[in-house]
Every structure is written in structure tokens, then in C-alpha cells.
């Protein structure tokens, strides 16, 4: 499933759009707000759910090759983070749902593949 398809199914907003949204495959989901922990555990292809919206999120996403970063609960994303994400080819998504609900819904979709 591509990020575009995932966004449509779960009504996610694509905040930073890059060519990868139609190419990159989503293969897993991971949720964690401790950056060191997340960095060590995120697998390539994961949707990473975090409440952080600072620049370091883009660095961690880029280092781990996660499929995209998903910010839950409509948390506002800093403008410089969005700009950096576009620059680094990192996809940021946003949703009004909580991290727990998003994990459940993404997991269900991936499991059915």
C-alpha cells in the first residue's frame, strides 16, 4: 500500500508532499516519542507516529528511512519543520485521531494485505 492509498483510506492529511507519496510502500507502523529509542527501533517502511513536530523529527525520519511521519490529534506542525521535510524528501502526515487509534487502524490495514 502506498502512502497515498493509506492517506485516502484513513482520511490523513498530507502536510509535506513529495514524489514518494505515490511510490513508497507502507509496511509497518511504529509509535514512540523518545527520539533515541525511535531511531533505534523504526524499520524502513514504517509509518512513524509521534507528537513531536520539531526539526529533529525530520532528521530521525530521514536517518531511518521510515515511510512517513504521522502527527496525531491535529497537533500543529512548525513551519520550519514542514519546509525541512520537503527539502529532505520526508513525508509528513496529520490526523485528528490519537496515536493509539492510528496504530490500530494502520495495523489492521497492513495485516489484511
Amino acid at each position: 500500500m502506498t502512502i497515498n492509498q493509506l492517506s485516502q483510506k484513513l482520511d490523513l492529511k498530507i502536510v509535506s508532499n513529495t514524489p514518494k507519496t505515490t511510490e513508497k510502500a507502507v509496511t509497518g507502523v511504529y509509535s514512540c516519542d523518545l527520539l533515541s529509542h525511535a531511531m533505534a527501533k523504526i524499520n524502513e517502511g514504517d509509518v512513524w507516529i509521534t507528537v513531536h513536530t520539531n526539526l529533529n523529527v525530520v532528521a530521525v525520519a530521514s536517518l531511518t528511512d521510515c515511510a512517513c511521519v504521522l502527527i496525531p490529534e491535529n497537533i500543529e506542525i512548525e513551519k520550519q519543520t514542514v519546509e525541512r521535510a520537503i527539502e529532505k524528501d520526508v513525508i509528513l502526515l496529520s490526523s485528528d485521531k490519537s496515536a493509539a487509534v492510528l496504530c490500530y487502524e494502520i495495523f489492521k490495514l497492513i495485516k489484511d494485505l
Binding site: L34, T50, N54, A59, L63
Partner: protein, 143 residues
């Protein structure tokens, strides 16, 4: 092949706008020369943690990177306050990071243990009020 790639980077103090640039650059070089993706990931994680440490704790510093056909050696040094008790600092969960850093998602006390976990050889030289040097080696062919 005896080519050695050498790179030097300046790590500024407390500047999150360019934090991770050195690691990101090294990651790109390793990918370009065809190093296996899992080794690239290990190296970037170890280097990023060390870079962030130098930025947060060491008042900034320098990164010196040497890549040959077998390995990458990364030396990150700062002239910061040094580490008083290295054994304690190596323990997962121990951190001296201020609240402002914790609010950004750092300061969980995992930096040094993460570096150790993702490198093949880790050497730390530190002296109070003089600074800290972290030497990370990652081999491209894992035994």
C-alpha cells in the same frame, strides 16, 4: 582500492536547525559507495547521537570522518565540560540534559548506549572541563 574519503564538519552549539547535517551527509556518502543499508543505518544512528551529544552537552565541536574500503572511523570531539562519571553516563536512562532538550524528545539517557549498540568499536576519552572525544568505528563486513 586504497581510496580514503576524509570529511570534516563543524558541529555548532545548540543549533537544532542544522543538527544532524554531518550524519546525514555521511549517510549519503556511504549509500553512494554501496555500503549495505543496515550498516549505513547503524553508522548514521551512532554518528547522529554523538553529533547531538556534542551539540547539547559539549557546546558544539568537530566531526572528523575517514572512510576506507573496510570501515568508517568517526571522531567527534568537543571542548565542553567533559563527563564526570563515564560509567554512570553509559547507563541507559541516565541523563543530564535540561528540560528544554527533553521537551524535544531527547535526554532519555540513551545516546551513549545507542552509540555503543550501533558501533563495532567505541572509545571515549573525556576530562572534566576539557572536553570529550568519541571515536566510533563501524566495519562494512560484519563477522
Amino acid at each position: 582500492m586504497n581510496n580514503v574519503v576524509v570529511r570534516d564538519y563543524i558541529i555548532p552549539a545548540n543549533d537544532f536547525t542544522i543538527a544532524g547535517e554531518a550524519s546525514s551527509n555521511v549517510r549519503k556518502i556511504l549509500s553512494q559507495i554501496g555500503v549495505a543499508p543496515d550498516i549505513v543505518k547503524r553508522t548514521s544512528i551512532a554518528m547522529y547521537e554523538a553529533e547531538i551529544n556534542a551539540m547539547i552537552h559539549g557546546k558544539g565541536g568537530q566531526a572528523h570522518v575517514e572512510i576506507d574500503e573496510n570501515k568508517i572511523v568517526i571522531r567527534i570531539s568537543d571542548q565542553g565540560p567533559g563527563i564526570e562519571d563515564l560509567d554512570l553516563a553509559m547507563q541507559e536512562g541516565y541523563s543530564t540534559a535540561p528540560d528544554s532538550i527533553r521537551e524535544m524528545g531527547f535526554g532519555a539517557g540513551m545516546g551513549l548506549s545507542n552509540i555503543k549498540k550501533h558501533s563495532d568499536i567505541l572509545e571515549i576519552n573525556t576530562a572534566v572541563n576539557e572536553g570529550t572525544t568519541v571515536l566510533i568505528t563501524v566495519f562494512f563486513k560484519q563477522e
